[in-house]
Structures are given as structure tokens and as C-alpha cells.
């Protein structure tokens, strides 16, 4: 008893971790890799290669020149076939580099051995620079460029580094498997992050449904100073950074502010592993672990996938029954978005591919709001989704802003719990985009 969790709201959907305990497998290289230039939050990177150029694995393809932007490296070796707009997971065309794969030749500077390098040679500034140049972004799904978090502005002090191993989304198991198989590397990654932030206290939050991962990391962390592992009660959306800080430290991040305000920096375990590879092995972020799961998947598994691999290849490898599938979701069932086309590439933010059966994929018929206040009860941000939904629909943007619509983390708990099947989050997203537009216009004046 007495497991920690966040105070406000939250739900507990069926966990359905079908792919748990299936070891990370490598996927065969695709024939053609499509690497979008905008795989992260912020400004798209600027392309650095020309058509027809031969590239090696890990070679810089595009440089993120703005502050909030990330570099993009070649995940495969071969010839740059085209630089043209390609359809991404939402159906929009985004500028991408298309590479015809030829062999698997790595850049010389990358250490491809599997030895674990424990000694940290770089100093604090070099680490941040390395993270920046290796194109590391937040691997939890938001793909926020990581180096920005490590450039702490003057006057702010970081007390705690919080590592997010919660994986509260049902179905997804990529972080879980990473914690089991790459525990040592992960912990070294965390020590690098601690050095970069100059903090001496780190808490890794892991939900209690992953006891093997908790034990594994506890055993490894014994040998390192300042790292504690905290088991958390299973509750969605504990993986949200504000909820995680609340669960671990009981601190509340003020509305519209960053976790830095309460002396915290939150990063995902996937990011910690990527930082380990970037700093110790000089390896850019060119591959990630993707869970392919769902009831129509023959073999739910966790794959180590090069970025740019088409999702169709993963589905083929996992032996999926596409006849019975109604929807393919990019991400988890709660926050993921349905794919409009299947031959879109895996990007830095693809944490999972979820296949829903035809019956599961159907939306409930929309009925009237019965004011049962279930959505208000489960909202982890303390908002009133039913009210926001209505006023967002009526385009009352000022009122939406007053009701703190921008605090919504789009976790989808309200829609999950609504007995009338109302599209609450759809409406709130509409309101958020309207209010965001209004705020941007205001700041321009």
C-alpha cells in the first residue's frame, strides 16, 4: 500500500500489454528510406545533402539551425534519390529526403561495438553540444529537442532530474523492454544527464505493473550515486510530465509554466538511452524502439527500427491480419492518431503502431451530455471538459482562455470515460487551436 500517484483525476484503462516480454528484434533494412525533415517540435531542419549524393549511416542530412530544432542524420547508407515532399502520417506533405538503401556502411566516427562505455570523458558544455549535434529529441512522443532542456536559463536551479519510465499508455511496451534489456546503458545515460544539469538527485518513476523493470534498474542503480527508483500506482496519464512531478514530489507546476519552475527536468527513458548512445558512442538518433501491437497482430513485438522505414514493413514482419483491422494508430490508444496511409515512415516520435479491430475502431454514437461530471472527475489538469467542449464549439475563444483550455494535455481521459460518447477532445483541440491562434496574433501586435 501507499504507492505514489498524482492527486487529481486519472483513469485506469485495461493495460493490454500484449507485446510485454518479447525481446527487442532488429528489422531488416528497408529498400528505400524516407526521412522527413521535420520530425521534432519546432523549426524544420535545413537540408545539407544533394540529390545523387552517397551517404553513410549517421551522416548529417539536415541541420537544425534554429534554437528549437534538431539535426537529422541518415539512418541508412546509400544514394539520395530525391528530396521532395512526401506524405506523413497525417496526410500532409512534408519535405523529406528519400534514400535508396545500398549496404550498411556506417560513418567512421560512430562506435558500433556493443561494449558498455562507463567513463564519461566530456565536460558539461561538450555534453550539451553533443546532444544538440546528435539530433536527440524527447522519445516519449512529444519530440521536443532535448538540448533545450539542458540549457538551463540563468536564475533557475534544477533540483531533481526525473526520468519517466511510466509508460502509462495501454498496449505500448517499448520503454519497458528497453529498461529490461538496456538497463546499464540507460543508467549511464542518466549519469550523463545529471552531469549536464549539475544535479545530484534523480528519481526514476516506474509504474507498478512492471516489477521486473523496477528490480532490474534497482540492482543496477545500486552502483551509482543519487539515483532512486520509485514504484508508482498504475494510473493514466502518469506519464505526463506535470502528473509525474506531482506523483513523485508532490509539487504542482503552475499553469502555463515549464517543470523548471519547480526545479525539475523530466526526460523519458528512451531519451536517456539515446543520450547514452550520442555521448558515449557518438551515435546520432537514427533508430528507435517501436511496439507493434493490437488484437489483429499475429506476433505483437518490440522492434528496433531505423528511422525512415515504412510502417508497412513492420506490419508485414509482425504478421498482421490487415483484413480484420479497422484502424492503424500511430502511438498508443489514448494519445495516438490514426494513420491515413500505411506506407508512411517511422519517425523519431513513433513509439508504437497499434492495430484496432473493426469493432474496436468504431466511434460510439454521440448522445447528449447528461452532466454526469465524469469527465471533470477524471481530468488530470482539473479542467471541465464538458464545458470547454461546448464553448470551444461556439468559438467563444476568450472564455476558453479564461477556463484555461491551454492547460489541457490532450490525454483523452475525458473521452474515455464519457458515457455519451461525446467527442470532447476533438472539440477541445479545436478550441486550443483557435485560442493559440488568438494568443499568437496578440503577441504579434
Amino acid at each position: 500500500m501507499g504507492l505514489l500517484t498524482f492527486k487529481m483525476g486519472g483513469i485506469h484503462p485495461p493495460e493490454s500489454k500484449l507485446s510485454a516480454k518479447s525481446a527487442i528484434e532488429e528489422v531488416v533494412l528497408p529498400k528505400q528510406a524516407v526521412v522527413p525533415l521535420s520530425q521534432h517540435l519546432g523549426v524544420p531542419a535545413k537540408v545539407q545533402v544533394k540529390r545523387g549524393e552517397l551517404v553513410k549511416v549517421g551522416q548529417l542530412l539536415a541541420k537544425g539551425e534554429a534554437f528549437i530544432s534538431a539535426d537529422i542524420h541518415s539512418p541508412v547508407s546509400g544514394k539520395v534519390a530525391k528530396i521532395e515532399p512526401r506524405v506523413d502520417s497525417t496526410g500532409f506533405r512534408k519535405e523529406s529526403v528519400v534514400i535508396d538503401v545500398d549496404g550498411d556502411e556506417w560513418d567512421e566516427s560512430i562506435d558500433t561495438s556493443t561494449d558498455i562505455v562507463k567513463e564519461i570523458k566530456l565536460d558539461q558544455k561538450e555534453i550539451v553540444e553533443r546532444i544538440h549535434r546528435m539530433g536527440v529529441v524527447g522519445m516519449g512522443g512529444a519530440t521536443f529537442p532535448s538540448h533545450v532542456k539542458y540549457m538551463v536559463p540563468d536564475g533557475k536551479t534544477v533540483e531533481y532530474l526525473i526520468i519517466n519510465g511510466v509508460e502509462c499508455e495501454p498496449y505500448l511496451t517499448s520503454d519497458h523492454q528497453l529498461m529490461l534489456e538496456k538497463g546499464e546503458e540507460l543508467i549511464i545515460g542518466i549519469t550523463i544527464m545529471m552531469k549536464a544539469l549539475k544535479v545530484d538527485k534523480t528519481i526514476i518513476g516506474i509504474e507498478n505493473n512492471k516489477p521486473d523493470a523496477i528490480e532490474n534498474l534497482k540492482n543496477i542503480a545500486k552502483n551509482y550515486q543519487g539515483i532512486t527508483i520509485e514504484a508508482l500506482k498504475v494510473q493514466y496519464p502518469q506519464g505526463g510530465e506535470k502528473q509525474l512531478i506531482d506523483a513523485l514530489l508532490g509539487r504542482e507546476v503552475p499553469s502555463g509554466k515549464l517543470p523548471l519552475e519547480v526545479g525539475c527536468v523530466v526526460n523519458n527513458v528512451g531519451t536517456a538511452y539515446a543520450i547514452y548512445e550520442a555521448v558515449q558512442k557518438n551515435k546520432p538518433l537514427i533508430e528507435r524502439i517501436v511496439t507493434v501491437t493490437g488484437k489483429t497482430v499475429g506476433k505483437p513485438s518490440n522492434y528496433k527500427v531505423r528511422i525512415g522505414t515504412p510502417i508497412t514493413e513492420l506490419l508485414e514482419k509482425a504478421n498482421c491480419d490487415m483484413e480484420g483491422t479497422g484502424k492503424v494508430i500511430n502511438g498508443g490508444p489514448m494519445m495516438g492518431k490514426a494513420l491515413v496511409l500505411l506506407n508512411v515512415p517511422v519517425t523519431k516520435g513513433t513509439s508504437g503502431v497499434l492495430l484496432l479491430e473493426k469493432a474496436e475502431a468504431k466511434r460510439m454514437p454521440v448522445l447528449n451530455c447528461i452532466r454526469c461530471s465524469k469527465c471533470t472527475d477524471v481530468c488530470p489538469m482539473g479542467l471541465e471538459p464538458h464545458l470547454l467542449s461546448i464553448i470551444a464549439r461556439q468559438a467563444e475563444n476568450e472564455r476558453c482562455e479564461e477556463e484555461q483550455i491551454m492547460d489541457c494535455i490532450e490525454c483523452g481521459s475525458c473521452v474515455y470515460t464519457c458515457p455519451s460518447g461525446r467527442p470532447l477532445l476533438d472539440n477541445i483541440r479545436l478550441g486550443k487551436s483557435n485560442v493559440g491562434f488568438m494568443i499568437r496574433n496578440r503577441s504579434r501586435k
Binding site: R93, K337, P423, R429, S433, N434
Partner: protein
């Protein structure tokens, strides 16, 4: 007892008189002097409060116009030129003549032309879907078919065509600009109605390169500039692989329509083109009055080339409704002509109105 009633009456009466005197002086002191013209203009206006003039309502428009002392830049799209001519004498001004306009849908990405590539079962509001997905057809510029423009229309001048999943603008559009503002993808535009409702425009807003836009839609503008070369009046510009016809400069010669390889340029309310040998002698036609001649020609053409006309109409969502209406009207005209040929000119002038 009597005294009590009398006293009460006296007190009440004296309070009444005192209040009346005070109110009179207060009213004199704080009198709001308003130009009586504002009331006159306000009465003349249609009272739709649609905001098409750019003011909050009809009253605000009247106030603005009277205070400005000029009619330049003031135009009520609902009442049109006729109304402005009525208002002119009230203000002692002469209004500028403005060409009547209509909202035009610059997209032809119907279900047939831009084949849906996936099912979308989420929220149908355009302003929501525009951020979420490019659209079921795959075009990230074209119409989403959510009907937000139809909801915005205050004049029942738009409806969604279930066959094409595109909105259709009816004749009674007053060009109030509400749909143009409602559309999150800027597909609707106000254009001149043109002589006899004839219009030519590029029904596409796709700014992608030709091969890319053709992947999603059969009738997109590919920016080939064939229309620019054929246009003698410099009315067509191509920017970002998208042609745009300037309706002020266009003389409706229809040459661009013929050369467009993707049928992206639409002509509306033109007579269907005659088949290849155009010289067909019709000795009777010359003797008849002009309107009758036209009416007969249209009916003859439509019946003769029915399959061809239909094929053309299918592609052009907007043409469809209008051509059908025209056929009806023309038939009516012809029936009357048989009785009294002299009335034909009058009925022709009214035909557009009567359809509405």
C-alpha cells in the same frame, strides 16, 4: 376619510408634477442630437444584420455612412446597387456603381475527381479537420466537405451536394462574405457575377507542383501556363504552380478553358459549345426577335448534345444546378413566345430572378 384620499391624491399629483418638471429639464440638458438621416437610412436598409458591409449591423452601417458624409467605400451587398441608389437621395449623394458579386468555390475536388483514400469518422468541422488531416482525398489545400460555409450562410444561398460532397452556391447569394471568412482553407472567393451570370475561373487552390497535385486530384491546376500563353488580355497569373484569373481583366473569351489540360478552368452559364461544323443554316431564326433566337438556340443545343452537355456538367458541380435551371427557364420563355413574341425580351430579363 375623505381627507385622507384627497391628501394622498394631492401628494401623488404634486410628486408627479415635480418629477415631470425635473425630467423635462434633464431631458433638455442631456439631449442626444442624432442625425434624422440615420433613421431614414436604417429604415431603407434590409435589416439582415449580416455584417457583409463590414459593420456590426445595419444601424452601424447607416451611422457610419451618415457620419462619413460620403458613400465611397460603403456598399450593402444584400440590397445591391438598387438599394444604394435609393439611399443616395436621402444623403444627397450619388452612389458609385458596383458590379454585383457572388461567392465562387475554387475547388472541384469532388468524390469522383479526388478519390477518397481513407474513411474519416471524426469530427466533421472544417476548422478542426484542417489541422488534423489533409483531407480524405489527400489534397491539403482543397475542400474538406465539412460544410462550415453552409452553416455560416445567413441567406440560404448554399447547400452541400451529397453527390460531390462540395458546397454549391445558389443564385440568391448576396456576396456578404460570411462563407469566405468561415472557410479555413480560403477556397471561397467573391467574384463579379459577370454579364448574364457568365463566369470563368480556375477551380483549384492547390499550390503544389503539377505531378504532386495530380496524385490527389484529377482536375487540379498543374501550373502549366497554357492558359497564360493563350490569354490576350493579361488576365491570368501563375504563382506557386497555381493559375488565377483576374475577373476584372477577363473578357470571357473562353480560350483558356479550351486549352486547360486538366479541366481546372471552369466556365459557367455559357451556352454549350456547338459541335465541330458550326455553320448550320437556320433561315427562320433571322426573322425572330433576339431573345427568342437565343432561347431556341439554347434549347436546340441542349437537346442535341445532351450526352456531351451532361458529361461536362458532371465535372462541374456548380454548373449542374444552374444549367438545369436555365433549361427550364428557356423552355418557359419559348412557350410564351409562341403566343406573344413581343413579350419575350421582358421575360428574359426576369428569368434569373424567377428561378430564385
Amino acid at each position: 376619510m375623505d381627507d385622507a384620499i384627497l391628501n394622498a391624491l394631492l401628494v401623488m399629483a404634486s410628486i408627479g408634477v415635480a418629477a415631470a418638471v425635473i425630467l423635462y429639464f434633464v431631458a433638455q440638458k442631456f439631449k442626444v442630437i442624432e442625425d434624422p438621416k440615420i433613421d431614414l437610412v436604417d429604415e431603407a436598409l434590409p435589416g439582415a444584420n449580416c455584417g457583409g458591409c463590414g459593420y456590426a449591423g445595419c444601424r452601424a452601417f447607416a451611422e457610419g455612412m451618415v457620419k462619413a458624409g460620403t458613400m465611397e467605400g460603403f456598399f450593402c451587398p444584400v440590397g445591391g446597387n438598387d438599394l444604394m441608389k435609393d439611399i443616395g437621395p436621402i444623403l444627397g449623394l450619388v452612389p458609385e456603381d458596383k458590379k454585383p458579386q457572388i461567392a465562387v468555390l475554387l475547388c472541384n475536388g469532388s468524390i469522383k475527381n479526388s478519390i477518397p483514400k481513407f474513411d474519416y469518422d471524426g469530427d466533421q468541422t472544417c476548422s478542426f479537420t484542417t489541422n488534423l488531416t489533409a483531407g480524405v482525398g489527400g489534397c491539403s489545400f482543397g475542400c474538406l466537405g465539412g460544410g462550415e460555409c453552409v452553416d455560416a450562410c445567413n441567406f440560404d444561398a448554399m447547400y452541400m451536394d451529397p453527390e460531390t460532397n462540395l458546397p454549391v452556391v445558389k443564385f440568391n447569394c448576396v456576396a456578404c462574405n460570411a462563407c469566405v471568412e468561415a472557410c479555413p482553407r480560403d477556397i471561397l472567393e467573391l467574384r463579379n457575377r459577370g454579364p448574364k451570370e457568365k463566369r470563368i475561373f480556375v477551380a483549384c487552390v492547390n499550390k503544389e507542383k503539377g505531378p504532386l497535385s495530380k496524385l490527389n486530384c484529377n482536375v487540379s491546376c498543374i501550373g502549366c501556363k497554357a492558359c497564360v500563353k493563350v490569354c490576350k488580355f493579361d488576365a491570368i497569373d501563375v504563382n506557386n504552380f497555381l493559375a488565377y484569373i483576374n475577373y476584372e481583366a477577363c473578357t470571357l473569351c473562353r480560350k483558356c478553358v479550351e486549352v486547360c489540360p486538366t479541366d481546372a478552368i471552369h466556365e459557367i452559364n455559357f451556352k454549350p459549345r456547338k459541335p465541330k461544323p458550326p455553320k448550320v443554316d437556320k433561315p427562320k431564326v433571322a426573322a425572330k426577335p433576339k431573345a427568342e433566337k437565343q432561347a431556341e438556340a439554347v434549347v436546340a443545343d441542349l437537346t442535341k448534345d445532351l450526352p456531351k452537355a451532361e458529361a461536362e456538367v458532371e465535372v462541374k458541380a456548380e454548373v449542374k444546378a444552374e444549367v438545369k435551371a436555365e433549361v427550364k427557364a428557356e423552355v418557359k420563355v419559348e412557350a410564351k413566345v409562341e403566343v406573344k413574341p413581343a413579350e419575350a425580351t421582358a421575360t428574359e430579363g426576369e428569368e434569373v430572378k424567377s428561378e430564385n
